[in-house]
């Protein structure tokens, strides 16, 4: 499936925005203004942009937690400043400042998060089940990392999705790492998508640094799913060029990761640079357009930060919180 020029520009702009936000999040956490964790996205954000790009508002999505799903959500059209505010513990936070790193956009069918990696899998079964039950035509975008496919929950989700032919995309952002382990030490094969075949689920492997390849894969996967063919598995190969989470070590097993290799990846595999080169070569955008898009993205990131800082810290009383556990 091929992309229109307009689609390419939107994808490019969103990737620029996501990468600017990722940098802003890093500034904010380093400045001690964030509560909780942050897991830098770095050069791994093209798959997230592609995952969100072609979904309708009603299509449930579970964003991969890397870069805390900012790429996925903004690409889906969500105003993420409320989520960033959540990271800063503010009243404007999408979870009222109660969660630090959970998102909640129920109207956009992004329902939340869990600190337990792998929690996405069973929930996505529910989204797909509901779509089928309601005959709503919704599709499910279930994003997570290669490491998450260690959890047996992925098996139960692949099984149920295949068995019930649920409209779900298993979208794997495979950066070859899981915390401080190399995935090749955790999984006995080159691609975790090799799991799909056991359930009769089709799969594809895509270059995760190529924004447009990811987007084409997303279009193809969604078409498959929307046609009622049941689930599909897309594995986007990408890279982690920094530590797992801010402040942690950057090891694989007992060994430090090779800083030169990571520097090289950073330089040669930047998806925004690769996409810009393509758009220039194809004459879809000029260098000026590109510079403008990048500048806009930086400005937006600054505005988001300012918005969050302007919101007061959320400090509800215990009584208020006790009243919020159940709904009446």
């Amino acid at each position: 499936m091929s992309l229109t020029n307009d689609q390419k520009i939107v994808l490019f702009r969103n990737l620029a925005r996501a990468m600017a936000l990722d940098r802003m999040m890093m500034r904010v956490i380093r400045a001690g203004k964030m509560v909780g964790f942050y897991h830098e996205g770095g050069i791994a954000l093209a798959p997230g942009i592609a995952a969100g790009a072609f979904l309708q508002k009603e299509d449930p999505m579970w964003p991969h937690y890397r870069a805390h799903g900012l790429a996925h959500m903004l690409s889906k059209g969500i105003d993420i400043k409320y989520y960033v505010a959540e990271h800063m513990g503010r009243e404007a936070g999408c979870c009222k400042g109660r969660s630090s790193f959970h998102m909640s956009f129920p109207e956009d069918h992004v329902f939340g998060f869990s600190g337990n990696i792998g929690a996405n899998f069973p929930l996505s079964v529910g989204y797909g089940f509901a779509a089928k039950y309601k005959q709503s035509g919704q599709v499910v975008m279930n994003c997570s990392g290669d490491g998450s496919y260690g959890e047996g929950r992925c098996h139960e989700a692949l099984l149920m999705s295949a068995n019930w032919k649920l409209p779900a995309v298993f979208w794997c952002e495979a950066n070859g790492m899981a915390q401080h382990s190399n995935v090749k030490d955790l999984f006995p094969g080159p691609n975790v998508s090799s799991l799909a075949a056991g359930f009769g689920i089709p799969s594809m492997v895509v270059d995760g640094q190529d924004l447009f390849a990811c987007a084409e894969a997303a279009l193809q996967a969604l078409a498959h799913v929307r046609q009622g063919n049941g689930p599909i598995f897309v594995e986007c190969k990408t890279y982690r060029v920094q530590e797992h989470s801010v402040g942690g070590v950057n090891y694989e097993g007992p060994n430090q990761r090779d800083p030169e290799l990571m520097a090289k990846w950073k330089e040669t595999l930047n998806p925004l640079a690769l996409a810009a080169a393509r758009l220039l070569a194809e004459k879809v955008l000029t260098q000026e357009d590109i510079d403008q898009i990048k500048a806009d993205a930086e400005r937006e990131a600054d505005e988001v930060e300012a918005f969050c800082e302007a919101s007061p810290k959320a400090l509800p009383s215990v009584a208020e919180m006790q009243a919020a556990v159940y709904t009446a």
Partner: protein
Amino acid sequence: MSSQRELTLCEAIREAYVEEMRRDERVFMLGISIQAGTFPHTKNLCEEFGTHRVVDTPLAETGMAGCAMGAAQEGLRPILDFMYAGFSYFAGSEVFLQMGQYHFLHGSQHPLPIVMVGTCGVGRRVGNEHATLPYGMAIHHPGIKTCMPATPYDAKGLMKAAIRDDNPVLFLWHTNLMMHKGYVPEEDYVVPLGVADIKREGSDVTILASGLQVHSALKVAEKLKDEISVEVVDARSFEPFDRESLLRSIEKTTRLVIVDEDFERGGFAAEVSAQVMEHGYDLLDAPVRRVCHPNIPVPGGYIDVYTMPTSERIEEAVREVCR
């Protein structure tokens, strides 16, 4: 009129399902082998509601629990059948850590109307996973309501309340009560969660019990009636728990025995005892006594009937607090 109509506890639960599924298309059920009906509470439901609303799943408890949560987020109202409630431990994170906490942690914007059901209870000689009563564990985790009926009447009414509740509810029943018969009105009624019921009035001592143990308590009350006047309070719901009714009873009797078939340590009985310490200390004429499953795994074999709170153990405790 059918004021004498008797149903088994399972039939009463089934009737609640049928009425609520007719009333609300968003209600559906999922579980392992519920279409055939492992237990009579789901027997033949497919005939009326079809296999898309009465859904058999693979053996996959995390998938089942997540399916219920996700479907609830998408606007459905799942009834999730764990068959034996002890199997819910396979989905420990979904059931105890996520389901009840999702709403609050995400800004209390989107409740999860899920009913989880399962049979449980000691005395069937099957041990461990098939006996474990997970309510002690459930009440420890904020956000999950939990109840257990002692009669078919309460079963139907509580189940309707649970299905209509917008929060996750863990609805348990005792395996030995499944075939227990009692009066069940045909008409629509609800037994609200969080309201205890005085199953027998008395003035000397209060026994707080639930499920099968309400019947053991009633037996003891009857046996002792010429010596000690026993009030039997059926908790019915563990969370929310009706502390007010219990305190009112203690105000009258000044003595309390808590009967709880779950493991004693850190269970529901411990919580009630601590609450009475905090809120009813001055009402008491004797320390509260617990009669629970001892702190040993639920054995199978012939042993398990000796480890559950028997009438003898309850009577002994009643006599002790009345000394």
